[in-house]
């Protein structure tokens, strides 16, 4: 009989692997995602007015509370605090909702990352529970027992609507987390991060409030009218449906140029200009500031959130995901189309100029309604404002000549700038040698 090798994971190992590399802002956004999933269950019609998520923190304490329906005790004891998703969890797919909870680890990972003690209290309409975890104590227990214990539970009650919701408190933050949370600039960064990686839930009325500041829904924009129609493509890959919209936006915010990828209403990739989204690959040129007009949006949706192409921390894409591999050539196609239109203008001022002359209503917000409007496939991107049609394509010529020669020419032509030297010598030659050919 062979000796047994103990390959069971230790709790310490598990926690350290789980929480390693988790960005604090991403961890907080995960907790918000859970609240939003609660809102989706509570309001299947997608209208979240009156629902809120409040985050309040300082250097010693973190709290997130919501009124998004609470967590049923069965879910708490069987799923919410289990690491991973048991196979019998079919309820979400059945309800045909697009949830962001996917891998069964988001909440736990965030809580372990932020603190060594946390407590959670939940009220649904009929049930209430509370639970407290001291991670250090939990780790000390026998490694085979991975359970937590509810400290209170009540069923079959009738709770008033105002109490319904979930509150998570971390009264003891990990030291390096505490230092970061105490920075004013962190609060700014967090608010901006949540704003950028906003979900459509905010658009639909959900209030997200951080230390008293409400997160605004600021949609991205694209030009869309009879002169300029965005690239649109859509389809399904397995259980995942996708929609691609790409086009031009005002150049003024170059940091916003690039690809935006969202999964089930949750933005995962923001303004990407790297090979992740196809730049610099397979015939597509690398991103360059002259392409600051470019905006591309991919919207993935699936009732099986695990099939979506995001990584486990929802901060980027799993590049081996089938859905993403299938969609990437289409992204390159869209990028290529838009770049062609930008480059054929030769002079980038021409695009800025044409775009700035467009009516303000041509700059369309990418909210749910407008995204739904863009439903017809349109894989040829064209851009045909009147000024653009009438343009003369200009190019620059640049060369070096000796200063002495240039000065002599300046004297003869009676000009003072090198630019005029180039321009007038070109005209001189063209008038004498090229006009006869016509």
């Amino acid at each position: 009989m062979n000796a047994k090798v103990n390959a069971n994971p230790t709790k310490e190992f598990f926690i350290s692997m789980l929480t390693r590399d988790v960005d604090i802002k991403a961890a907080i956004l995960e907790l918000i995602d859970n609240s939003i999933d609660g809102a989706k269950r509570l309001r299947p019609d997608g209208k979240y007015d009156g629902l809120w998520v409040k985050i309040q923190y300082d250097k010693s304490r973190f709290q997130i509370s919501d009124n998004c329906g609470g967590i049923p005790i069965k879910v708490a004891t069987e799923y919410a605090f289990r690491f991973g998703r048991p196979n019998d969890r079919a309820t979400d797919s059945e309800k045909k909702q697009y949830y962001t909870g996917a891998f069964g680890i988001g909440m736990k990972r965030s809580l372990f990352r932020l603190g060594s003690v946390f407590s959670i209290e939940s009220f649904t309409k009929n049930e209430h529970f509370s639970m407290s975890v001291d991670v250090n104590e939990w780790v000390k227990n026998e490694d085979t027992d991975w359970s937590f214990e509810l400290s209170e539970e009540q069923k079959n009650q009738d709770y008033p609507d105002e109490t319904i919701g979930t509150t998570i408190v971390i009264p003891s933050l990990n030291e390096n987390i505490s230092k970061q949370l105490s920075l004013m600039s962190f609060e700014n960064d967090l608010i901006r991060y949540i704003e950028s990686f906003k979900t459509t839930a905010v658009e639909n009325g959900l209030q997200i409030i951080v230390n008293g500041t409400r997160i605004d829904f600021i949609p991205e924009h694209l030009f869309f009218d009879e002169n300029i129609v965005p690239y649109v493509n859509n389809g399904t890959i397995g259980d995942v449906s996708y929609k691609i919209i790409a086009g031009l936006a005002p150049k003024g915010n170059p940091e916003k140029a690039g690809w935006y990828i969202s999964c089930n209403g949750r933005l995962v990739v923001y303004a990407d200009k790297t090979s992740l989204t196809g730049w610099g690959e397979d015939g597509v040129r690398h991103y360059h500031p002259s392409l600051a007009f470019f905006r591309g949006f991919i919207i993935f949706e699936s009732v099986d959130s695990e099939k979506l192409p995001w990584n486990t921390s929802k901060t980027s894409i799993d590049t081996s995901s089938v859905a993403y591999i299938g969609v990437k050539p289409l992204m390159r196609e869209a990028t290529g189309e838009i770049i062609k239109a930008c480059l054929s203008a030769e002079n980038e001022d021409l695009i800025s100029d044409s775009l700035s002359k467009m009516h303000p209503t041509s700059l369309v917000a990418l909210n749910t309604t407008n995204i739904a409007r863009l439903s017809t496939k349109q894989t040829h991107f064209s851009f045909s404002t009147p000024e653009y049609k009438e343009r003369i394509i200009m190019k620059g010529i640049s060369y070096q000549k000796s200063e002495e020669q240039i000065n002599k020419v300046k004297g003869v032509l009676k000009v003072s700038t090198n630019k005029d030297v180039g321009s007038k010598t070109f005209d001189y030659f063209f008038e004498r040698e090229c006009l006869d050919d016509e």
């Binding site: 920075l183 004013m184 600039s185 700014n188 608010i191 901006r192 704003e195 008293g212």
Partner: protein
């Protein structure tokens, strides 16, 4: 538009050529600036510091007049001094240097802080980035860089113009000048001529805090930046703002806050933070009233000890007609008031 404003004043010399017929104050003298200089001197002189103030090094933008250099050398006995100048004829600066303990550093401020000036991490500095030009994001970066470089026990001051046009596109304007340090809670409704300084103040404090946090991570230190100075003033039309920090460990920061510096009326009263209530941060206002020498003499005879109301009624009884606001302003800065037009012999 903001780029044009930045180019307007890059040295004190060009500032002197600005003229405005509507002014009550003779801009060539800059009395509020002169008062500010003396206040800063008083704050650092009375602080309880890890080493005597005369051991400090002074780094500033001297221009051709070196007024701050002269004051700090004469009053504080500082004899290690560096003046940073980005443009202008070197021969002119060299010629006008009043003392031989002043070294010139001919490069832009950022380069000077990063490689032009040696920072040994032990000997503290008084750094005064007195820009005079319109506030912009690079100033935040340079103040943050200074916070990373100076030794523990140093002071960093900075002054700039805050005449920002907030009427059209206030959010865009504030985003451009404060960058990522603009408090996320700020909305267009919070931005007004009066509040711009508070927003800028909060942006700078957040940036310096982050810079110190990074520094502490690198050196495993426990430094913090204590705000010691936050004033507004204007000589003529241009509204100016100054901010000052003391960069020190916990022990030395506490010593400063219990030293005589705190009694200076312009020492910053520490406040709690608030996300959106910007009115908590009231800067002290340096305002130099226009009074004749005779009027000043009469007020001085009643100082110290008499209230502003008493002074007003006493003077009125003597037939001296002044308004209460001017008396208040004068009394707040009477010890720093230039009794003659400040003119240096050296320049």
């Amino acid at each position: 538009m903001l780029d044009r404003k930045r180019l307007i004043i890059s040295s004190k010399e060009s500032a002197l050529t600005m003229s405005n017929s509507g002014e009550k104050i003779n801009y060539t003298v800059r009395p509020a600036k002169s008062v500010e200089r003396k206040i800063i001197c008083e704050i650092v002189e009375n602080a309880e510091l890890p080493t005597p103030i005369s051991n400090y090094r002074y780094i500033g933008f001297g221009s051709f007049y070196f007024v701050d250099f002269i004051l700090f050398h004469n009053t504080l006995n500082i004899d290690k001094m560096i003046s940073i100048e980005r443009s202008g004829k070197k021969e002119r600066f060299d010629f006008n240097k009043p003392y031989n303990c002043i070294e010139m550093c001919y490069m832009d401020c950022n380069a000077a802080l990063i490689h032009g000036i040696p920072f040994d991490g032990e000997n503290p500095d008084i750094v005064w980035l007195d820009y005079d030009s319109s506030f912009c994001k690079t100033m935040i970066n340079e103040i943050s860089t200074a916070a990373q470089k100076v030794a523990e026990g140093s002071f960093i001051f900075s002054s700039f113009n805050v005449d920002i046009d907030c009427t059209s596109n206030p959010m865009d304007t504030m985003n451009e000048i404060c960058g990522e340090y603009l408090p996320a809670a700020i909305q267009a409704k919070h931005i007004s001529g009066n509040n711009v300084c508070n927003i800028i103040f909060k942006s700078i404090v957040a940036a310096v805090e982050k810079s110190i946090y990074e520094r502490n991570s690198r050196y495993s230190s426990n430094i913090s930046a204590t705000t010691v100075f936050y004033v507004t003033y204007s000589d003529g039309i241009a509204k100016m703002m100054s901010i000052g920090f003391y960069i020190a460990n916990t022990e030395n920061s506490a010593k400063l806050l219990s030293s005589k510096s705190v009694q200076c009326p312009f020492f910053y009263k520490q406040n709690a933070w608030s996300a959106t209530d910007l009115n908590i941060y009231r800067p002290s206002e340096i305002s130099v009233p226009c009074l004749t020498k005779a009027e000043i003499r009469e007020i001085n005879k009643l100082l110290p000890g008499n209230t502003n109301d008493d002074i007003l009624s006493t003077l009125t009884a003597k037939g001296i007609v002044l308004n209460k606001k001017d008396i208040e302003r004068y009394v707040s800065i009477y010890k720093y008031y230039p009794n003659y037009f400040d003119a240096s012999f050296y320049t």
